[in-house]
């Protein structure tokens, strides 16, 4: 438990945090990626139903603390077509645990004209800022790691997935109500995730189209998204991919998210008019990624919880 009035961090830890932020800024300055600071407070927010949003202000006219700077950074991409990054605080409602704080520092950046692979190489360069020994990062296929650690194919039916999940000590309520996708998430987070990047960081790619978020689908195989995640010591550090640039496809995905929210009784927000306008104006082909800076520091320093590398973290 943190004492009132105390940050919970030593001066050395505070210095290490500051050094990482400075190194990130120096890296991007050296390669001509420009820092931007888009607003944290907007009248709408991410539609992803699994990101719990933090609404503030009057209930009749709520505003939202942003869970990522994605939408407005895409406006800047459409408007200027230049590489940009944002390093700042983002917010999630009710996320608190060893790897979660309701407010944390995210590094998000976009590279117009870059492929996902180019961007993954640059993610490794950022990793090297804290861990110079990281030279090569392997890439694992989502489907293969799922099969390897669960002995099931991710396309297995609900019954088979539930049976496998039952052995993990899952509440009856969850087992009875979860749809196949939720069971797949459960198996991935319980059986696969803890094994990822144990010795050194690894990428996972080949995520299924349902988990594309706002990444484009692979033109060679439209059942897969051009999206990647980075894991180190079982901790998800970054999430990125090639950006979806078609307005129609974007509308379909955003509407599906909002429909899911409606059915699940979650807050339903307005379609993001800024994001729509950016797509109408024309988003250049680009790759983008969001990286959890606190988690990166936690892994690099061998700390056990993000709260151990963040000042004034919540218990």
């Amino acid at each position: 438990m943190r004492e009132h009035g105390r940050s919970g961090l030593s001066w050395e830890r505070l210095r290490q945090r500051a050094d990482l932020m400075a190194a990130i800024r120096a890296y991007f300055a050296a390669c001509g990626v420009v820092e931007v600071d888009t607003p944290s407070l907007r009248i709408t927010c991410a539609s992803d139903p699994h990101i719990p949003v933090l609404a503030v202000g009057e209930a009749a006219e709520p505003q939202f603390l942003q869970s990522s700077p994605e939408a407005l950074m895409k406006c800047l991409l459409a408007e200027h077509g230049r590489p940009i990054y944002q390093l700042g605080k983002v917010y999630r409602a009710g996320e608190l645990g060893r790897l979660h704080q309701p407010e944390f520092t995210m590094l998000e950046w976009y590279r117009p004209g870059w492929s996902m692979q180019n961007l993954m190489d640059e993610v490794v360069a950022i990793l090297r800022l804290v861990e110079p020994a990281v030279t090569q990062v392997d890439t694992l296929d989502w489907r293969s790691v799922f099969v390897e650690h669960t002995s099931l194919e991710p396309e297995a039916d609900r019954h088979a997935l539930a049976q496998r999940a039952a052995g993990l000590g899952v509440s009856r309520q969850l087992l009875e109500t979860a749809d196949p996708r939720a069971l797949r998430d459960l198996l991935f987070s319980h059986c696969v995730q803890p094994t990822l990047g144990q010795n050194r960081p690894v990428f996972v790619t080949g995520f299924p189209a349902e988990e594309a978020a706002f990444a484009r689908l692979d033109p060679a195989d439209d059942t897969r998204a051009l999206r990647f995640e980075l894991y180190w010591a079982g901790v998800e550090l970054a999430n990125g991919g090639e950006e979806l640039t078609e307005l129609d496809a974007w509308r379909r995905r955003a509407s599906a998210d909002l429909e899911y929210r409606r059915r699940a009784g979650l807050p339903v927000m307005a379609i993001d008019a800024d994001w729509v306008a950016a797509l109408e104006l024309g988003l250049p082909a680009a790759s983008g990624v969001a990286l959890g800076v606190d988690r990166l520091l936690m892994c690099a320093l061998g700390a056990n919880a993000v709260g151990h590398v963040m000042p004034f973290a919540r218990d």
Partner: protein, 189 residues
């Protein structure tokens, strides 16, 4: 009836799972990169002390367990139940063999114990950390040896057997640590 959502989970919370009362030891929020969040908790069964892991969907609710801890005075054993009394209200509670378990060897009349009650009935009995008990049986003391080295077994008035220094004699009152079952000192009456 109280229910708790997963975002209210924290260590020490008492919940009901599959009909048994549990206390949350540790709560972890688990989330894949994109997708549903889960609460993974380590919980201890308050009836048998076993620790298990359980996963809930974020937002699921569980029933709270009506569990409370009371400081009660031990009165007597009737051959089947151990009887306790609340010292202010004089309300009495009886605990069975399962609830008392291995701690029965530390229960001395008048001592104040911690009882965990579930739906009003005792499910566990915790004796004081230190109890004073009379030696009912031990080998004769060795005169002049006050070093405390070596040691011998001594049976106490409640049936507990502890290792004591060689100078301890029958009829003496001893202070014993119930958590480790170790002799602490002699007590002057």
């Amino acid at each position: 009836m109280t229910t708790y959502a997963t975002n209210q989970f924290k260590s020490g919370l008492k919940i009901l799972l599959d009909g048994d009362p549990y206390t949350i030891v540790e709560n972890e929020f688990v989330k894949p990169g994109k997708g549903q969040a889960f609460s993974r908790v380590r919980v201890r069964n308050l009836k048998n002390g076993r620790v298990v892991e359980k996963t809930f969907k974020s937002g699921d609710t569980v029933e709270g367990a009506d569990v409370m801890e009371l400081d009660l005075q031990y009165l007597y054993y009737d051959g089947e139940f151990w009887h306790f009394m609340e010292p202010v209200s004089f309300e009495q509670y009886s605990a069975d063999e399962v609830a008392v378990g291995d701690n029965k060897i530390w229960l001395k009349e008048q001592d104040v114990c911690k009882l965990m009650l579930w739906n009003g009935s005792p499910i566990s009995v915790e004796p004081p950390n230190f109890v004073e008990l009379k030696v009912t049986e031990t080998d004769p003391g060795v005169r002049g040896d006050t070093s405390g080295g070596g040691g011998k077994p001594a049976t106490l008035e409640t049936g507990a057997v502890v290792r004591v220094p060689l100078f301890v004699e029958e009829g003496e009152l001893l202070k014993v640590d119930t958590r480790t079952a170790e002799y602490v000192s002699r007590v002057k009456e």
